[in-house]
Amino acid sequence: MPVIEVTSLHKRYGETVAVADVSFDVEAGEIFGVLGPNGAGKTTTVECVAGLRVPDGGGVSVLGLDPRRDATRLRQLVGVQLQESQLPDRLRVAEALELYASFYREPADPTQLIGELGLDEKRNTPYEKLSGGQKQRLSIALALVGNPRIAILDELTTGLDPQARRDTWGLIERVRDRGVTILLVTHFMEEAERLCDRLAVIDKGRVVALDTPAGLVSAVAPEQRVRFRPSTPLDDRLLTGLPQVTAVTRSGGQIVVTGTGDVLHAVTSVLARHQITAAELRLEQATLDDAFVELTGRRFVD
């Protein structure tokens, strides 16, 4: 049974339609991504799930409850990290966590959480003195301190440097491994590809695709290309005979093998069996970026 059900969600701000028609289900224990360019309606969607906004149409159910009517119960069960929310400048890391822990019936141990998030050395540092990555980790910690069953995280790596971003990804995976279902909003392709079990691609307030990252990519561009320069001349039939291979062409001294599935492995196995080494070996694969262009007819712009 899904833990979050969003059905035909619709939300306007005056004349602006922020969310036209969005539906998706999130299963227990998965990292579900909501991916789309800026202004697509991602934040509005998850804020309706979090009970912060009232939908103009459609339904939202979280753990079988209504985010508005059962707000009191759900706030104990859902941790939320909002885009662009800060803390008072002089509030220290440990104080923030102890404060938020006091709101919940069965909170996590703040000290332990500080350690898990790598903020041990910063426990007495005021918020204003934290780096962007540290602020973000603290914000995630606050979303987790109530021991929630669901965590909603909106744009959690925006503004972070690549290293801090990768660290945060590792952290999110560890949180999921503890059994927390994660609803993750992002406009980074790479982040969605790396982290999400499944994702809804949203454009202009509508879901344009809903699948696993690999599924999205293979649905729009199932073919992959393997390029290499063989160490000795090679009979094309060695390759065309493989079930994964659809075409073999030559360009210059290079061989280009087009195929589906695990074509790279199939090709390298054949070469190894014939003691041929492959120089300049490259795999060309469609990315989520290509998938997005295919789905919306536009490049993904940040």
Partner: protein, 244 residues
């Protein structure tokens, strides 16, 4: 209840760490008093002030400084900052009520005002022989109602100001008006009668404070007006208040 206690404790720590605000709200009136008191002629009783010294006459007006600083400056700025930075909104996603934060801020404002008033009265008494408020009950009532009226006006500012900057832009003229009619800029005996009279009816109602300090029961109309302002501004603030 546990959550409210923790919020109050945390907000108190933040208040104590903000030294400039702490000085402006708690210590400034007493500092002004001490500076004025260093001028010998201002310590001499004079018939103009009902045979009191200027320092004694001016002390209730200094109380207005505290009330205006806390109610019109500090409180709206803190709340508007919290709104601007999404702190209230984030709180709304937790089981804690943003109302608890609002209540904690009001409690701290009251504590700050009380600390400032006690400090002022004690220093005025010890250093300059200014008698403590002569009509204690009247003084307490006037202080409570005047404070309530100013805090309500402050909450109204906090309710309508989307950002800290906007809160300050609204607060500055209100603050000046409060200070002017409270007789802080120009001692009230220098004001034309009708201006001094207006000061009796603008929060925090300096006339009632003055009367009670010198031993006369405050005029019920003066007190009543403060109560009306407190309720009206408070109700308007409650209607207009936005968490985001």
């Amino acid at each position: 209840m546990h959550a409210f206690g923790q919020i109050l404790r945390t907000e108190a720590k933040l208040y104590l760490r903000d030294i400039p605000t702490l000085m402006l709200t708690v210590a400034l009136p007493t500092l002004i008093l001490v500076v004025l008191g260093l001028i010998p002629s201002l310590r001499e009783p004079s018939p103009e002030f009902g045979n009191q010294s200027f320092v004694t006459y001016f002390t209730p007006s200094l109380l207005v400084v505290t009330l205006a600083m806390v109610g019109i400056n500090a409180l709206p700025t803190v709340l508007a900052t919290y709104r601007e930075r999404g702190i209230l909104r984030r709180l709304a996603t937790t089981p804690a009520s943003p109302l608890a934060l609002l209540t904690a801020q009001l409690v701290l404002a009251l504590v700050g005002i009380l600390a400032s008033a006690v400090l002022l009265a004690v220093i005025a008494r010890l250093a300059f022989g200014t008698p403590l408020p002569q009509h204690p009950l009247g003084f307490a009532v006037a202080l409570v109602l005047g404070t309530a009226a100013l805090l309500a006006v402050g909450l109204l500012v906090a309710a309508v100001a989307p950002t800290a900057k906007a809160a300050q832009a609204l607060a500055v003229p209100l603050f000046m008006v409060t200070m002017f009619f409270g007789g802080v800029y120009l001692p009230r005996f220098l004001l034309p009668d009708f201006l001094a009279d207006i000061g009796a009816y603008t929060p925090p109602g300096v006339q009632a404070l003055l009367d009670a300090w010198t031993g006369t029961a405050p005029h019920p109309l003066h007190l009543g007006i403060m109560a009306v302002i407190a309720v009206a501004a408070g109700a308007a603030a409650a209607r207009l208040f936005r968490w985001e």
